[in-house]
């Protein structure tokens, strides 16, 4: 049976990448040193909110945690309002806004995201009035330029530059 990094042609199996050959229960796979990262359930990703609607936000995924390399191309991932907070949430804008950078967990194989956990959520946001970078103040975000206060699902790592 062909596994990862193996392809079949005319009933024969061939390695598609360079790496270590592993044989487990009739499945042959090749372990590549430089793997092209792929997304699956439970992966943590970082991305940018590119669209917000009534009940969900669309996130453009940039990287997966633990991998330096750019991901293969994916369409936008869906962040539904029910996955934005543990508590009931009425408005998407109370958790994420356009152009926010969020860290989220993939919760199924059709690229749905969740930011319920404490260290997940918005890690960088801009003021919706003047566009300058917001800073944390208690559980809210405050604009140092115009004093505007905004609500978000703030990650524990907000503004630290790491995730």
């Amino acid at each position: 049976m062909p596994g990862k990094g193996v392809y079949e042609e005319d009933g024969k199996l061939f390695a598609a990448t360079a790496g270590k050959v592993r044989i487990e229960e009739k499945t042959i796979s090749v372990e590549t040193v430089k793997e092209i990262p792929e997304l699956g359930k439970d992966d943590v990703v970082i991305g940018r909110v590119v669209d917000t609607r009534n009940s969900f936000a669309m996130v453009e995924i940039a990287r997966k945690r633990g991998s330096e390399r750019a991901l293969r191309h994916y369409d936008r991932a869906l962040l539904h309002i029910s996955n934005m907070s543990k508590d009931y949430m009425k408005n998407v804008d109370d958790a994420v806004k356009y152009w926010d950078i969020v860290v989220a967990r993939v919760i199924d194989n059709s690229l749905r995201l969740s930011i319920k956990e404490k260290d997940l959520g918005v890690v960088r946001a801009i003021c919706s009035k003047c566009g300058s970078r917001l800073e944390v103040e208690k559980d809210k975000l405050k604009c140092p330029e115009c004093g505007n206060v905004e609500k978000r699902k703030v990650s524990a790592n907000y503004g630290k530059g790491e995730w």
Binding site: Y7, V33, I36
Partner: protein, 256 residues
């Protein structure tokens, strides 16, 4: 170069003396080849390759998002290949930028690469291959293809096999493998080949060009000659990849 100017004056030069070529090689001998894998930090995969006096670097980026968007293919990846020569790579400074020759080489090389890359695994993505000739002797397109193929392996791009490429030329009425500049300039024919190699076997031809004149029998002989040369190059490509991966896997083990 003095010797070259003299040759030009005399108009006719002997490229083969006593069964040996100008640089002392036999008819079916390759120029010395040196391959290094993973030489560039910012690229996903890279390779530096020397084939005689040719010095080329290949870089592979991707699979990544394609820009502009309308170039993307919804069912498979698009492969882009750019062959370019540095202005200082040839004796007379070459004006930078693509010209007819390099556009054509990019096209045929891309088609050769497309034959092995498993594009259908990466819909809507692009795989970019850039090859830069830092120093040119003859046969830069073959050197570039060899480098690009190794760089693709280094990038972990799934491929059906490897591409190995070599040229055969006809000089003074004999066929010679891997021609150098003099043989290319004053020879009677030049035939670059690229082969799709899998399981240490040549499966098919991925690139074939010819300029000059050869007879039908000579062409068949040239093909056989190129196959032998390509197998030699293939072994060297494999060794280079293995050497690189051995080090990497040791590092992985020491981390644990």
């Amino acid at each position: 170069m003095v010797s070259e100017d003299l040759n030009r004056l005399s108009g006719d030069i002997q490229l083969i003396v006593d069964g040996k070529r100008l640089d002392g090689r036999g008819f079916d001998e390759l120029r010395p080849i040196n391959i290094k894998v993973g030489v560039l930090k910012r690229a996903d995969g890279s390779c530096y390759l020397e084939m005689g006096k040719n010095k080329v670097v290949a870089a592979v980026y991707g699979p990544r998002e394609v820009h502009p968007r309308h170039l993307a293919d919804p069912v498979k990846a698009v492969v882009r290949y750019r062959y370019s020569m540095a202005p200082f790579s040839v004796e007379e400074r070459k004006r930078p930028g693509p010209d007819r020759r390099s556009i054509e080489i990019s096209k045929v090389s891309r088609e050769a690469i497309e034959a092995v890359v498993m594009k259908e695994l990466f819909p809507r993505s692009g795989i970019d291959v850039f090859v830069e000739v830092l120093q040119a002797d003859a046969g830069t397109r073959t050197a570039c293809l060899n480098a690009a193929s190794v760089a693709l392996v280094d990038a972990g791009v799934p491929m059906r096999g490897l591409i190995s490429s070599v040229a055969v030329a006809k000089v003074d009425d004999v066929l010679v493998l891997d021609p150098m500049k003099e043989e290319d300039n004053y020879g009677q024919a030049d035939i670059p080949f690229a082969f799709f190699i899998r399981n240490d076997k040549i499966e098919s031809i991925a690139l074939l060009q010819m300029d000059g004149r050869v007879s039908r029998d000579e062409f068949k002989e040239a093909l056989e000659m190129a196959k032998r040369g390509a197998m030699e190059i293939y072994q060297m490509q494999k060794e280079a990849i293995k050497a690189e991966y051995m080090i990497e896997s040791e590092e992985v083990n020491s981390d644990e």
